[in-house]
């Protein structure tokens, strides 16, 4: 199932997560929004690597992926992104 959750980061930007889950694993996940990430492709690489991860490990794996050098995110932290992705994945699983 697919779930979408939006969250305004306090003092930061708006994150819009979309996660598709099947049999306890992420099929695809993305985070859209008005944040900045440098280099942009590194953010998209991290997003692509979310596919295949087990939902119950998504929070820690996503935190590692979005914290990985050289990626730098402005307007949201890797914690904000990983937390929202994990919540969205659980939401998708619950449906």
């Amino acid at each position: 199932m697919i779930a979408r959750l939006d969250r305004k980061v306090p003092g930061g930007k708006l994150l819009r997560a979309e996660v598709e889950v099947e049999s306890g694993r992420v099929l695809a996940a993305s985070v859209r929004g008005d944040f900045f990430a440098h280099p942009e492709e590194a953010f998209e690489d991290a997003e692509a690597e979310l596919a295949g991860l087990p939902v119950d490990r998504l929070a820690e794996e996503a935190l590692a992926l979005f914290s990985r050098a050289p990626l730098r995110i402005f307007g949201a932290s890797p914690q904000d992104i990983a937390g929202l992705l994990s919540e969205t994945a659980r939401e998708a699983q619950a449906h």
């Binding site: 985070v31 008005d34 900045f36 942009e40 307007g75």
Partner: protein
Amino acid sequence: MKLRLIDSGGAGLPGALNMGLDEAVLGAVSTGSSPPTLRLYAWSPPCVTVGYFQSLEDEVDLEACRAAGIDAVRRLTGGGAVFHEAEVTYSLILPLGHELAPEDILESYRRICAGLVAGLERLGVEAAFAPINDIVVGGRKVSGNAQTRRKGCLLQHGTVLLDLEPERMFSLLKVPAEKLKGKLIEDVKARVTSLRSLLGRELDYAEAARVLREGFASAWGAEFDESAPTEEEAAEARRLAETRFSQSEWNARR
């Protein structure tokens, strides 16, 4: 420092061409075939742009844009949705390591935005840089800025609002619920301002472009060498406008 200045003029260019020209100049600066460059420009027809990480579909009422003859384009830079109509826009393209392009991204925003603050000062407007990417007057945003770093270069573009029409803006943007529209319009009126509102008079592109240019010269210690884009840049800009910035493969990718 010496900067090439390309003033594309107050008559404005289509959004896809503006974004194509920014990227074409970046390509030319990255190979050393063009020097560090400042562009000043406007938009015709008016255009909504969304940030690199935004979904055009999520943010923009594309049907309303089509009906109103307004373009919609996804930018190379992050940040939020912007409605470009009554404004002056700049872009600055520099090789990394230039004194306005230090490694520290927030520091480069600060140094570049100091030029905008100095320009606004010439109009008697007391503005300040508000990290990450805004310039504010009395706590209200008058300028938004966005930066990307590619091919060993920094590209920062941004806007200074000449006028603000939140009702028109929200007729083109998607809102979470129609009943929230009134509140969103009130929020924008409280958080955003324009030079027209600050000065209590009309200000056109030419006047705003001139004071910005003076502000950039004084804050950056810049001397400008004004010219048109090279033939290669102009051709590459047209190519990018046609093959990228007006195509859904790019605009609707996220």
